[in-house]
Symmetry: C2
Subunit: 220 residues, 2 copies
C-alpha cells in the first residue's frame, strides 16, 4: 500500500451507556487525522442489546440498530463490520463505551462467559493473523482477552475487572490517565480512558497515545 | 466569580442530521477543558423536529427528545436550558448540526421567517445583556442573526445562506477552515466548521479558536 496509513474504527452504537462512548470515538478519529492516518468507521449491523435513556439511566422500551446509531458519530460514513477486510487496512481500533460490552460482546452481562459478535471476532482474528496492530480503549480490551487469550493489556485500575480478564488468560497491567500498555508480540495497544474517572482532555491524550503506538507498529 | 471560567454549552440533540453535530460538540468540550475552563451542557426539553436515520439519510418514524439525546454527548450531565442563568456563567457556546436549525430554531424549514425556541432566545438575550461572550459554530450563527439582528458573523462561504442572514440584518464575513469572526461589540464569536467540507482536525481547530476568542472576551 502507498499513501497514508489507513485504520478501521469499530463503533458499537452512539452513547456511553448502550453504545460507543462518544468522546472516545470522536477523539480517536481526531488522533488519526492529526497523525496523518485516514480512517473508515465500521459497526455490526445488529440490534442494540437495549436502549438506555442517558438522562435518567433507565432502560427505554424501544429498539435501535448498532450500525444505524453508529452512523451518527461517523456522519453517515460507516460500513457493516462484515465487510471489513484486514488486507485493506493497516490496523483496527475499538473505542470503548458499554456498547463494546453489550453489543460487540456480552461481557457486561456474562463476564468471563461472554460471547463475542462473530463479525467482531473475525475482524480481530483476521487483523492479528495479518500481523497488524489492534487498539482498544476503555472496556474494549475485555473483548481482546476473550478472543486473543494470553495478551498483555490494561483496563486501568479496577481490580474486579482486571481479575476477570486474568481468568480469560490475559496479563493485566495497571495504567493511569493517558497511559498505554503495548503487547508488542500481539501488536495490541490498550488504554483505560473512561474506565478511570477522567476529564475529556485526558481521554484525548489516551486516544492519541493509542493511535501513536499503533502507527509505530504498522509494517510499512 | 473565582476559579476557572465557566462556560455553558447548548446541545440540540445527538447527530448531525437531526441534532447537535457530534464532532463539533465534543471538540468544543475538549477545547474548553484544554484551555482551563469548566463547562456545563444544556439542551431544551422538547421533542426533536424529526428523527433522521444517519445511515440512509431518510426520516425515521419515531420520536426522540432533544434533552434526552443530548445526554448521550454529555454522558448524562446535561440540564434543561430553561435553568440556564447567565449570572452563573462566563459565556455560552452553541455547537452546530441541523439540530440548531431544526430544534433550537426552525431555520432549516423556514429560513428568514424561522422561529427560535423561547429558552434559546432567552439564553442568548440574557447572555448578551450580561455583556458575556457568545460562541456559535457551523449553522448556529443563523440563530444569532435572528435573535440579535445587526451582528457581524460567519457561516463560511455559502452565498445563499449568507444572503439569508444579511436579510435578517447580520453582516456576513466569509471565513475559511478554523477561522473565527469576532464581533467585539456584541461579544459574538463564530466559525464555519462543517458548513465547509472539513476534516475532523479542522473542526478541532475551529472549535479551539472559538473558545480561545470567547475566553479573551470574558470580563474577569
Amino acid at each position: 500500500m502507498t499513501g497514508k496509513p489507513r485504520i478501521a474504527v469499530v463503533l458499537s452504537g452512539c452513547g456511553v451507556y448502550d453504545g460507543a462512548e462518544i468522546h472516545e470515538a470522536v477523539l480517536t478519529l481526531l488522533a488519526l487525522d492529526r497523525r496523518g492516518a485516514s480512517y473508515q468507521c465500521f459497526a455490526p449491523d445488529i440490534p442494540q442489546a437495549h436502549v438506555i435513556n442517558h438522562l435518567t439511566g433507565q432502560e427505554s422500551h424501544e429498539s435501535r440498530n448498532v450500525l444505524v446509531e453508529s452512523a451518527r458519530i461517523a456522519r453517515g460514513d460507516v460500513k457493516p463490520l462484515r465487510d471489513y477486510d484486514p488486507a485493506a487496512f493497516d490496523g483496527i481500533v475499538f473505542p470503548g463505551g458499554f456498547g463494546a460490552a453489550k453489543n460487540l460482546s456480552s461481557f457486561a452481562f456474562d463476564g468471563p462467559n461472554c460471547t463475542v459478535n462473530p463479525d467482531v471476532e473475525k475482524a480481530i482474528k483476521g487483523t492479528r493473523a495479518a500481523g497488524k496492530p489492534i487498539g482498544a480503549l476503555c472496556i474494549s480490551p475485555a473483548i481482546m482477552a476473550k478472543v486473543l487469550g494470553g495478551v498483555e493489556l490494561t483496563i486501568g485500575s479496577d481490580s474486579g475487572t482486571a481479575a476477570t480478564l486474568e481468568k480469560l488468560g490475559a496479563r493485566h497491567k495497571t495504567a493511569g490517565h493517558g497511559e498505554v500498555v503495548v503487547d508488542k508480540a500481539a501488536k495490541l495497544v490498550t488504554t483505560p480512558c473512561y474506565m478511570l474517572n477522567s476529564t475529556i482532555g485526558q481521554i484525548a491524550t489516551g486516544a492519541d497515545n493509542v493511535v501513536a503506538a499503533m502507527l509505530e507498529l504498522t509494517t510499512r
